[in-house]
């Protein structure tokens, strides 16, 4: 089996950066000037500028959510980040036209290779803007749109404006407000009625510059009966100073549509990763989030689905690995808003060393609904006694005609298991890696092959690194 076609985003492979010359730089710190600068550079329509400025006010007005979340959030210094950096060029359709240093970055990460191997389209973002964006020609002929957010809001306002900021309003939380004020990059995807995109579309988000904060914004709309799979990968070099990645992702599945959104994220340990992701599911539609969080200093992410249409289905499959000094605060939200809607949450977390993982779930089924079902399963695996795990399931189900099922477990990798595996010749790291892979095995089976291979490789690296 070859791992060559997998996305190569392992820790060491991602740990490099280029001394890049940026044409546009909004400077350090955050104020109205920065927001206007971004709107100017992008020559955005006036409604977007207004949206941004309004969002900035909301951001300032909201407190940090430290009353329920970790105090580590207080270590984010918004005045120390750089909010916009770009070379000022349009995304190229051909890798040959991508600036040499940027191209080399993505080549080292293996992106062009994967595109040839198994993808229908790729967008590669370098700091604030996409450097490359391309999709197979057949798909554009069928009317599929896959562009960056700026191009989306300018070229396709009739679809873009209808849904932008509707699934996740500005004031949803402090970080969605921040993203709304300074967003740049991310994807806009529209799949017309009945079109089924067979191969995945992929976006790759790369932070290159120190102190740079990345705020991509993604909006995916699958029209009636359409189907699409989107995958995102992310890396950043290891810098001494902290970095912020704060994306907003909105999905809209119209009647009978299917959206699958896959994340395999491998941030370096200096990244605060605070992401808001939510989908709106229409009648008979299906939204599935597959979310793998490895790395980062702190990740807070709870992908959600609002089940708005009858018989809509929502699913979150979440794998979080908290290595030494990391905190994965992840989970899922399922808001049932129509009869016979079903949701399924399976969350597995692994804590290693001083690593800490938290599961937060929210399932809401109001009283007036009938025939709704939720299944929630959260399992935690602890590797060595310092590890910590917390579970906050928060399931609210009213009415007699709805059902929920909730299971949670915490298990430990025992010294006897590791010893047994080592007696068969595995190193300690290999032994831990094998047990971790066993723990998430049933979930990984659902991934596209390339991603399961990649995930396994990331876990191998993480486990090898965790053994002294």
């Amino acid at each position: 089996m070859s791992t060559e076609t997998a996305i190569n985003i392992d820790r060491e492979k991602g740990n490099f950066s280029y001394d890049t010359q940026y044409e546009y730089d909004a400077g350090i710190g955050l104020n109205e000037g920065v927001v206007n600068y971004i709107a100017d550079v992008k020559s955005e329509p006036d409604w977007v500028r207004k949206f941004r400025l309004k969002a900035l006010k909301v951001f300032w007005s909201k407190p940090m959510p430290t009353h329920w979340a970790t105090k580590d959030l207080e270590n984010i210094h918004f005045d120390k980040f750089r909010y916009y950096l770009s070379k000022g060029q349009q995304p190229s359709r051909s890798w040959d036209d991508v600036p040499a240093d940027v191209k080399e970055t993505f080549e080292r990460l293996g992106i062009p290779e994967q595109e040839r191997a198994f993808l229908a389209g790729v967008e590669a973002q370098f700091d604030s803007e996409a450097a490359y964006s391309n999709m197979k020609e057949e798909l554009s002929k069928e009317g599929v749109i896959f562009v960056g957010s700026t191009e989306g809001l300018k070229e396709h306002p009739e679809i873009f404006r209808k849904y932008f900021g509707k699934v996740i309003p500005i004031g949803d939380n402090k970080f969605s407000a921040l993203n709304s004020a300074v967003f740049s990059g991310g994807s806009f995807i529209y799949v017309p009625p009945g079109v089924k995109v067979k191969q995945p579309l992929q976006a790759y988000f790369r932070i290159n510059a120190e102190n740079f904060a990345q705020f991509e914004r993604t909006l995916i709309i699958a029209d009636e009966g359409a189907e699409v799979t989107y995958m995102e990968g992310c890396t950043a070099p290891k810098f001494e100073t902290t970095t912020l990645h704060s994306a907003v992702v909105e999905l809209v599945a119209l009647k009978g549509a299917k959206i699958q959104y896959i994340t395999v994220q491998n941030w370096s340990a200096n990244v605060f990763n605070l992401v808001t992701k939510r989908g709106l599911a229409g009648e008979d539609s299906e939204i599935k989030w597959i979310d793998c969080n490895i790395g980062s200093r702190l990740t807070m992410k709870y992908p959600g689905v609002i089940l708005k249409g009858r018989r809509a289905r929502g699913e979150v499959i979440s794998i979080a690995l908290a290595g030494d000094g990391q905190h994965q605060d992840t989970g899922a939200k399922m808001i049932h808003a129509a009869d016979e809607t079903t949701s399924n949450i399976i969350a597995k977390s692994i804590s290693v060393g001083q690593g800490r993982s938290t599961y937060r779930g929210q399932v809401y089924i109001p009283k007036h609904l009938k025939g709704c079902r939720n299944n929630t399963e959260c399992d935690a695996l602890l590797i060595n006694s310092n590890s910590r795990t917390d579970t906050y399931p928060a399931i609210t189900v009213r009415g007699n005609n709805n059902s929920v099922q909730h299971e949670a477990s915490v298990s430990k990798v025992s010294a006897e298991q590791i010893f047994y595996l080592m007696q068969r010749g595995l190193s300690e790291g290999e032994a831990m890696s094998l047990t971790v892979n066993g723990f998430i095995n049933d979930l990984v089976k659902q991934f596209p092959m390339e991603y399961s291979v990649e995930l396994k490789r990331l876990i191998d690296l993480e486990m090898e690194g965790s053994v002294g």
Binding site: Q423, R424, G425, L434, T435, N441
Partner: protein, 252 residues
């Protein structure tokens, strides 16, 4: 010398001395059996040899073909050819037998190289057939929900796939029904050969009818107190350990 050689071994667990000046030589090409009452230290010997961290070696040596094994990590000992079929093997949820054995074989390859998948499955299936293990087991999690006998058979499967130089079988016969006992014995006999030494820990002479040992050792209170040929096993069966004990005390 081509042997597993243990000399004057002293081992403590939790501050309590369990092995007291134990010496034993298992030459390549031979099958030896160790018998002894409960608590005499048989499993302790096995665990100390493979390097379990709870078993502290206070003094004594153990070499494998002249190489000091106490100098090696647990996994190094394995890769150098030392195998223990556990009395109570651990369960590894979610890890299939097939992936587990493959990972163990890959650990023996040069870095970055893996065993050929097609050849591997061919081998695995033929060994499973010999041990009468259903193919469905390849996709079951290691030891999870296995019956006692299935666990033991799975240990022998691992042994026959890894082809170690020295094998220690800790009560592999306990919990086996008579048919399974014959199958496991066949599996072990199949592995007998001039390039391999096998040490069988057992309570029952019955197993030794199927796997005829070259030597039998009696262990008592942390040391080997009597060694002989296969007839010693019959004698113990007939006269019990008390007889060995009395002989011991008499000789002191």
């Amino acid at each position: 010398m081509n042997a597993l050689e243990i000399k004057n071994l002293h081992v403590t667990i939790d501050g309590q001395q369990i092995l007291k000046d134990l010496s034993l030589t298992l030459p390549k090409g031979e099958v030896h059996a160790i018998m002894g009452p409960n608590g005499s230290g048989k499993s302790t010997l096995a665990k100390a040899l493979v390097g379990h961290e709870d078993y502290i070696v206070d003094s004594g040596t153990a070499t494998m073909d002249g190489k000091d094994i106490f100098d090696m990590e647990v996994n190094e000992r394995s890769r150098e050819g030392l195998f223990l079929a556990f009395q109570y093997p651990a369960e590894i949820p979610g890890v299939t037998i097939a992936n587990f054995i493959r990972a163990a074989l890959n650990a023996r390859q040069p870095k970055g190289e893996d065993v050929d998948a097609v050849a591997y499955y061919k081998d695995l299936y033929s060994e499973m057939e010999r041990l009468d293990i259903d193919r469905k087991f390849t996709s079951r999690s290691v030891n999870e929900g296995f019956s006692g006998g299935e666990k033991k058979r799975c240990e022998i499967l691992q042994m026959s796939m890894l082809k170690p130089d020295y094998c220690i079988l800790d009560e592999t016969d306990s919990g086996l029904d008579i048919d399974a006992l014959k199958i496991v014995a066949d599996g072990v006999n199949h592995m007998r050969g001039k390039d391999r030494g096998i040490l069988i820990i057992t309570h029952y002479q019955r197993l030794l009818n199927y796997i005829v040992p070259d030597r039998v050792h009696i262990m008592w209170d942390g040391r080997i107190v009597k060694s002989g040929d296969k007839s010693l096993a019959f004698e113990v069966e007939e006269r019990g350990y008390d007889w060995v004990k009395q002989e011991q005390t008499a000789s002191v």
